[in-house]
């Protein structure tokens, strides 16, 4: 099976603040050498704490943010070397669903116009055909055709997210970057939206890059999981493998942090202390070593490479 997307050593450094008067800081390495592949109709879950660079990575892949370095092959085309015009026509194949359903819709456009816009940009259709498509899309995401006449502020968060999803699938893209699509929603609505995304995946043969901080959700939704810490992927494998036998201490800690709704279960908790370090001053060696319960002398000196530890199970840790 050839891959839909192949990311090789993607880096995004944000330039330092200050300069003239204040001392110039160090550049922030939001994404620091990330490589992965994404097969057709596969869903890769990307997990990590806030500020680990997962959103930046998602936007770099869509070239909403220009990368500092790296190679990104989308159907064998190098996305990062495309001109502004070429990237525009590539947009119909890759789309994004945003986290904040209140910020992602233009408050001065009707729901119908929001969904219609991509059709206007990329397809030559008559007005009737477009309106028909908008009605179909609205019904496909669980809204009513007459909702096209309403403005975003008249919808609830979940309904707005449905509009955002309808906009993203309107051009039948191959890849959708879902940037925490449900984390701003009520738990009861989350399930509906996730089910909608699963339905659409089957219907349109979508490939998802699913960004989230909720391990259980990602596990439920994805084929493979990549765990990110401070701009790098620290562990990547198929869901069951990662779920049953996490290797990296950070992944273990993430699982331990998820509450289990069973009072009988006594679990040995692996806790990490402290916050994610400042990404402009990452720790030497393994970025995780100041918080790692299994820290060894070597961890402070060398960054462990992301290696195949078991079949199909990659981890970046000196323990194995």
């Amino acid at each position: 099976m050839n891959n839909l997307l192949e990311a090789i050593n993607i880096k995004k450094y944000f330039p330092p603040q200050g300069g003239l008067i204040t001392p110039r800081g160090k550049s922030v390495k939001a994404v620091d050498g990330v490589s992965f592949t994404l097969g057709r109709e596969e869903t890769l879950g990307l997990v990590g704490e806030s500020g680990c660079g997962k959103t930046t990575l998602g936007r770099v892949i869509l070239r909403l943010i220009e990368p500092t370095e790296g190679l990104l092959l989308f159907e064998e085309k190098n996305v990062f070397s495309l001109s502004k015009k070429e990237i525009r026509s590539l947009r119909k194949d890759m789309q994004i669903i945003f986290q904040d359903p209140f910020g992602s819709l233009n408050p001065r456009m009707k729901a119908g116009s929001i969904i219609e816009e991509p059709l206007k940009i990329h397809q030559q259709l008559s007005k009737q055909e477009r309106q028909q498509q908008v009605s179909n899309l609205l019904e496909m995401v669980g809204l009513r055709a007459q909702d096209a006449e309403r403005y975003p502020h008249e919808f609830s968060g979940g309904q707005r997210q449905r509009i955002g999803i309808a906009r993203a699938i309107s051009l039948h893209p191959k890849l959708i970057v879902a940037d925490e699509p449900v984390s701003a929603l009520d738990v009861s609505i989350q399930g509906q939206i996730i089910n909608l995304l699963i339905d659409l995946r089957e219907k349109f043969h979508l490939t998802y890059l699913f960004i989230s901080h909720d391990l259980h959700l990602v596990n439920h939704f994805s084929d493979r999981i990549a765990v990110m810490y401070l701009g790098r992927i620290v562990e990547m494998s198929a869901c069951e493998t990662l779920y049953n036998k996490p290797l990296h201490p950070y992944t273990k800690a993430l699982f331990a942090a998820v509450p289990i709704p069973d009072p009988e279960t006594k679990k040995i908790r692996l806790t990490v202390s402290g916050d994610v370090p400042d990404p402009s001053k990452p720790p030497t060696g393994c970025h995780f070593h100041p918080r790692c319960p299994y820290v060894m002398p070597i961890c402070k000196g060398n960054y462990p490479l992301l290696e195949m530890k078991e079949s199909g199970h990659l981890a970046a840790c000196h323990l194995y």
Binding site: R59, L62, L64, I87, R88, S89, L90, R91, K92, Q95, I96, F98, Q99, D100, G103, S104, L105, N106, P107, R108, M109, K110, E117, P118, I121, H122, G142, L143, R144, D147, E149, R150, Y151, H153, E154, F155, S156, G158, Q159, R162, G164, R167, I189, Q192, N195, L196
Partner: protein, 289 residues
């Protein structure tokens, strides 16, 4: 899977929401009434003015306000009320066209600076800084000193020297809207720059421009009045509130009405625009909702 319920009724357009807030605001409504009244007077001046604007009634010079002349007559025997009505045309014309010019330039340059950023932004904003260094009023004085004064030149000069505030405002709005996800979504959909600017960013940044433009009209009217007062604006015998004030100051000891009514007209107009501007600001301020 059951979608959440959707409320029924007419769609709540952003304008309707604005109107709701606007109606509740006493300041805004009073301002609107004042300005609407002025517009009616200006448009229908030839019809409703009791006399001809240049009609000289030799027997009735410097008459105090009476039933025949509600605001009295001037030193040539012209009816003050009539001339104030005709003068309102000058004020409104100057106010609107000057602000129209300044908003057009300001929105264009502010959009370019805010959208493209970097070098474009640096060049435009330094130009704004340079323009702000000119004392506007003296620049106008200099221009008028070289060319024969006319209402069109005054409007042009006021417009060309007052767009910097609008440019800064629009640029700031663009910078903050560029951080919003719907801007990223528009880019992700492959929209061209012009489409993104005109469909997504500009409509969302116009509210503060509207406020600034309304307040700007008041400023432009004051500038015109001041220029006419100094004798380099509207030239007599054409009436403007400014040159009526000048004419009135010579007789201020014996005929107070010659200075009072034009001054009062300026005051009411400027206040009306300021009230409207502040009312709009309150109506669109989400924190006050």
């Amino acid at each position: 899977m059951k979608p959440e319920t959707i409320k029924n009724g007419a769609p709540e357009t952003p304008w309707r929401l604005f109107w709701k807030g606007f109606k509740k605001n006493k300041l805004a409504v009073s301002g609107t009434i004042i300005i609407a009244g002025l517009f009616i007077i200006a448009i229908f001046a030839p019809v409703i003015a009791p006399y001809d604007q240049d009609a000289i009634m030799v027997k009735e010079i410097l008459q105090p306000p009476s039933q025949k002349h509600l605001m009295g007559t001037d030193e040539l025997g012209r009816d003050v009320l009539t001339r104030i009505m005709w003068g309102s045309r000058v004020s409104l014309l100057v106010g609107f066209l000057a602000v129209g010019i300044s908003v057009a330039i300001g929105v264009l340059l502010g959009s370019l600076a805010g959208y493209y950023g970097r070098l474009v932004d640096a060049i435009i904003m330094r130009f704004v800084d340079v323009m702000l260094c000119f004392p506007t009023f003296f620049l106008i004085l200099a221009v008028i000193a070289f060319w024969e004064p006319s209402i069109w030149k005054i409007m042009l000069v006021i417009g060309l020297t007052s767009w910097m505030g609008v440019a800064r405002l629009v640029r700031a709005e663009f910078l903050s809207l560029k951080e919003r996800d719907f801007f990223q979504a528009a880019r992700a959909l492959g929209g061209k720059d012009l489409r993104i600017i005109f469909r997504h960013i500009l409509p969302n940044s116009l509210a503060p421009v509207l406020v600034s433009a309304t307040l700007g009209v008041a400023g432009a009217i004051l500038t015109e009045a001041a220029l006419s007062f100094l004798g380099i604006g509207i030239q007599p015998p054409d009436p403007s509130w400014g040159n009526m004030l000048t004419a009135g100051k010579d007789n201020i000891e014996i005929a107070w009405w010659l200075s009072f009514f034009p001054g009062f007209a300026i005051f009411i107009t400027v206040m009306g625009y300021n009230m409207l501007g502040e009312g709009i600001r309150d109506a669109i301020d989400p924190r006050l909702r």
